[in-house]
Symmetry: C2
Amino acid sequence: MAEQVRAIRTRRTILSAAAKIFEEHGYQAATISQILKEARTTKGALYFHFMSKEDLAQAVLAEQDHRIMVPPRISKVQEIVDAVMLHAHRLQTDPMVRAGVRLTMDQMAQGLDRSGPFLRWAEVGRQLLQEAQVRGELLPHAVPAETADVIVGSFAGIQSMSQAVCEYRDLPGRVSAMMRHVLPSAVAPSILASLDLSESRGARVYAEALEAAEAGEAAVTAG
Amino acid sequence: MAEQVRAIRTRRTILSAAAKIFEEHGYQAATISQILKEARTTKGALYFHFMSKEDLAQAVLAEQDHRIMVPPRISKVQEIVDAVMLHAHRLQTDPMVRAGVRLTMDQMAQGLDRSGPFLRWAEVGRQLLQEAQVRGELLPHAVPAETADVIVGSFAGIQSMSQAVCEYRDLPGRVSAMMRHVLPSAVAPSILASLDLSESRGARVYAEALEAAEAGEAAVTAG
């Protein structure tokens, strides 16, 4: 058990070091030696956990997906809004999420398949919007897969614009504006009127999700 | 005159070389020596035209702005649609535009101010949408600056997603879907019904703009 804990910690240390090096040098220029030096670990430990530089990058990319879960909502449209707003909040506050998003957006990373995060987010969005459609939350002509693609693509660019312009300070406001523009084309007016699209939503969902996670852990410990 | 032409050509050669090197290595890792080798020119010639690596990158970034002009439209909303669709078309077909967009999206390019293209495009969009507002093309609650920001940010991410997923093959369709989602929240229904948001719009605007430019040159020659 102690060994397992140590292995998980080592993996985490290597991953954080890789995220930092990728962010500083870009995927292309980053080297395994730089990552080893940053992580203060051995080649053996690194290759025990990761096969290659690409494998490390894919692990950093995957960190975006470990979404701290949004609690289920009565409105599935609100659930997708919350997932996006929570992601924006984590992008502002969590260096690992930031590193994953930057790698995803690194159009110069040759030999690294960056399609994963786009396709996985689009799939999560499509599923939530299809559930919303079944529940009658969408307009009759709405196409869940198309709307999901527009939201995922738009978010990617809006975070990039916010980073270039002011290091993410205005990100929640920009994401809220994007949602207010995109959703009325796909969502029924009665649902639209009940949505919370405010800038502070992401921080509140984050606090709520953390509380739920801690309550869950406490229940497991008590059990 | 011959010297001027030669200078313009040399500048162009250096700029193309810089675009290629930035695209291959990323801004951070790229060096002036690599650009000199690619351009097959002298250090003296390079520094005659550009002060530094950042100066070169800013020139590549600025290439996106040399928009082959969209002819004025009766509807200013159609004009902004055409500018975006034309940009998408050029991104698919012009390596220099592609290099500029990739540099803009290079979140790892430390020390390079990448906010320029975002802010300039947002400003062009804001002006066109303000004209549209004066002409009564927008809904009463529409805020031109906010809608322009959403379009510019969304476009940036949608091109990135299209590049990651299929090297830009589906870009016109994705941009058309984005416009169909975003515009109904800001544009009056009567204008909306008259817009051409089809996938093939960008290629047609490009052909039209080229023809207009050639006719202009012919008129100058005849004069």
